[in-house]
Symmetry: C2
Subunit: 153 residues, 2 copies
């Protein structure tokens, strides 16, 4: 019944620490291995409008470069994070794509039995800021722990 | 960072055992107290059409009795479950209402820091059978562990 392989989805904001702390707590108690993932959105999702109207070659190349920079930046951040808490380099993942789809894919490939992800909530209003946690829960083939992160206020 | 008060939402099907087992595992490691909840749907939600057209007195009374029987049955089941795993009687809850709303309300009243709930998923299709887990995650003011229950097949 113990968890063996825990995948922590981090958005690389300050709130990631709260999510990581909970994940480490569970992993340590169960003697589970940790893996970290940060999913980078494809540049055409961030600037969807441009893709639809077509791009001049130079601009298109610049956007591809921007995406690559986002991946490199995330890899550096994840490497720091992983080093600080002792996660193997080969268990740090920075895929490009839809967050929930990439997390589900990785969870299967890495035989993950628990996905830990941050979720925002607002008392009383029933609102969820950011739908990633719901998206990950929806269709996950393993357990999902949604860590309620405190909102800056 | 340990959980102190864990609320387990059970649907009283055979799958409840899988959810309970995970919840107990976490609670034991953290030395947390367990509480159990089963939410009974109001009879007018189950037979919504009747409410809209108005009910003859006798039939209305029969439906209220049916709801009360559902509550009594759930209380008995929950009492057995609680006894088997050593949950205090005063930490067994059978509210009538919307599952997510009642679970959120109870979580606040009982100072719950982790809600454990079963969720169904279908590999590959991204379908979720039963939306309770998503509803509970949405707007929860504490962490939520969605335990992926195996489907009978």
């Amino acid at each position: 019944m113990s968890y063996k392989n825990v995948l922590v989805a981090v958005d690389l904001t300050e709130e990631s620490d709260q999510v990581l702390t909970k994940a480490r707590h569970i992993a340590e108690k169960d003697g589970a291995k940790l893996a970290l993932v940060h999913v980078v959105k494809p540049i055409e999702h961030v600037y969807g409008g441009f893709g639809a109207v077509g791009l001049a070659g130079d601009f298109s190349a610049q956007m591809a470069t921007l995406e690559q920079q986002a991946v490199s930046h995330a890899q550096e951040q994840l490497a720091k994070m992983g080093k600080a808490i002792g996660v193997d380099k080969n268990r740090l993942f920075v895929p490009v794509g839809s967050a929930s789809r990439e997390i589900h894919r990785l969870a299967k490939e890495e035989k993950i039995d628990l996905i830990v992800i941050g979720s925002h909530g607002r008392h009383g209003l029933g609102l969820l800021l950011g739908s990633t946690a719901n998206g990950v829960l929806h269709g996950a083939s393993c357990d999902v722990l949604a860590v309620r992160v405190a909102l800056e206020s």
